[in-house]
Symmetry: C2
Subunit: 366 residues, 2 copies
Amino acid sequence: MAEERNARQRGAPDPAVELTDRQRSVLRAVVEDYVLTAVPVGSKALVNRYGLRVSPATVRSAMAELEALGLLSHPHTSAGRVPSDLGYRLYVESLMREAELDTTDRLTIRHQFSQVQLTSNDWLRLAASVLAGSTRSASVVTPARSRRARFGHLQIVALADGSRLLVLVLGDGNITQRRLDRSALERAVPGDALDQSALDATAGMLNGELAGLSAPQMRRRLSKLPTLPARIGEVAATLVEEADSVVVEEVFTDGIVHVLEQPEFAEGSKLRPILEVLQRSDFLEQLVPVLTRHGGVHVIIGRENTNDAMHEVSLVFAPYGAPDRALGLLGVLGPTRMRYPRAIPTVRYLSTLMNELINSEYGEAQ
Amino acid sequence: MAEERNARQRGAPDPAVELTDRQRSVLRAVVEDYVLTAVPVGSKALVNRYGLRVSPATVRSAMAELEALGLLSHPHTSAGRVPSDLGYRLYVESLMREAELDTTDRLTIRHQFSQVQLTSNDWLRLAASVLAGSTRSASVVTPARSRRARFGHLQIVALADGSRLLVLVLGDGNITQRRLDRSALERAVPGDALDQSALDATAGMLNGELAGLSAPQMRRRLSKLPTLPARIGEVAATLVEEADSVVVEEVFTDGIVHVLEQPEFAEGSKLRPILEVLQRSDFLEQLVPVLTRHGGVHVIIGRENTNDAMHEVSLVFAPYGAPDRALGLLGVLGPTRMRYPRAIPTVRYLSTLMNELINSEYGEAQ
DNA sequence: CTTTGGCACTCTCGATGGGAGAGTGCCAAT
DNA sequence: ATTGGCACTCTCCCATCGAGAGTGCCAAAG
């Protein structure tokens, strides 16, 4: 399973092998109880609630051992135990009973996706909404676009109202359009008839020059063309601008309210840094290096995250799309005390579903 | 001034005329002090901080009068006074010293807007960001689109890679495009060469039928066309879908963190209902009826808002764009204890600026 | 050698109870 | 009409104090 390689890659110690069965079941019980109640869990309560066939004293000693291993911690003497980040990690790696999503859940989700069109933002908004609703956490979805949009080809279309439309098809199959500013064009090509053939020629010339370039490369190439005719200059500037704007990733989030409901964020100011990070459009992008190794679901727990603001939250995320041409990310964010056995299958299902949809779209379009 | 008509339209009592000069200046001082400190303000502190040339006892009696008029209130006996919604209303109507925005502020804002292109979402994101930053409140911006997008004209363009692009120009000047699903087209028109002239004919036919219709009307009209050739059916379905998706308004918000910083929202759960309302894309839409009367800045204070969730916040907002073809809304949301003298001019300036930009764009494009 | 019951100890949490401080309301004097 | 004085009323902060829950350790029992 994908997650199992995770810990080692991350260089985290892996004391799983040394754990006794008792330690394992105590750790599991502590994690699951704490996830449920948000209250540090004591030996007695644990025995009662989980029907362990041993005495509280035995559990206590197991807990002490787990604490020595760094898997549990004490808020203070004589409070119950709380899982450490490492404890959660071990739980996620090998203790968790992970169930796939219900068939009904899957059908509901799939149905919702059939209602919106693939290229629209609604698609991503829906994904964020489904993730947030299903996991009751905050969710984040980035569009599946190549990190650096490559120039595919360019076309200038005459619209019926007399204006021109610049259509830019990117290497990853995405399309953007922009209406050309007619008065500016006339400024650039004074007295010219703005006939379609001239524009076609311009487009053809640029298509040849720019094939396969990213926006910055386009800018450089264009500046090098020694004598750029004025009319081309206008189109070219618009073009670069348009390509640039595609690269800026819009991020869709949903379900922030769920995080707010968690007791660890009852104090509003706790949420602030999280909100700020979620706003930043590139925060999921930083995770791209982490997931190139394999395609599955990734879990980042608390302080495992290099971003200081995220030391008290966990991230469960996965890529979707094709890594080489259009990579998107989707995931959920919640307190480290997160329902991993729910979050992980949900993220996994959504990433495979969106993969499937996106690939069938590509299949048809090409 | 626009705001002055507001209170009467709203049917709110208007005790302004009856207030003595002293009462007016006490009310103003109370509002301004409370807005600044968020602490109920007492008579003594008021005299000290605002250099009133009277004794605390005098202020006390003025406060008691203002309280009898419903302009101030008491959290409890022997705490200071707090403005009521009505008190804020009166302040906004006739007590506030409203300054226009700095020239430097204006230039900075204008410069930022010159950096992004008008048709992109970045334009709206920028507006939200500027509003939030300048007022230190949460901001909301809706795109300037006619509430019901009207069909303008339709064009089918052959792309260089062999696929087709459906370009839909709406009555308000907005453009959306969608790549036509080639395999589906082939299904609809089996064995056909998909030549451009056939598609042009289709487009021409639909242009004639659908001119000026809204998406629902389009749907009805299309279903009535007795014998819709298969090839047109495919295009038509895509078309309606596209037009539908334009009507769904995306809302841009920013600066929620600022609200979180306010002491009245320190307790996270207070923020919840607000967040939920902000998420709902139609919440600003509900305000459209309110503002048709005139074009200026509107202020809705606390319980004046019919939405229960908004009873503890104020809204300062304005329309932009042309009411008949493309109406957008922008505004800020904060605690009733809001810096109105800052928020109102900012919203006003942004709405006029965006008006100007949008109209110059229309001017050039037509 | 593991498990268990017992026991002393520790720490949080909630209730209780004063001051201290800020503010009010009222009244009599100016 | 304005003001100073004064008694009164709240909140807020702090300290105190059990109750409760949990721990750690130890000696006894499997």
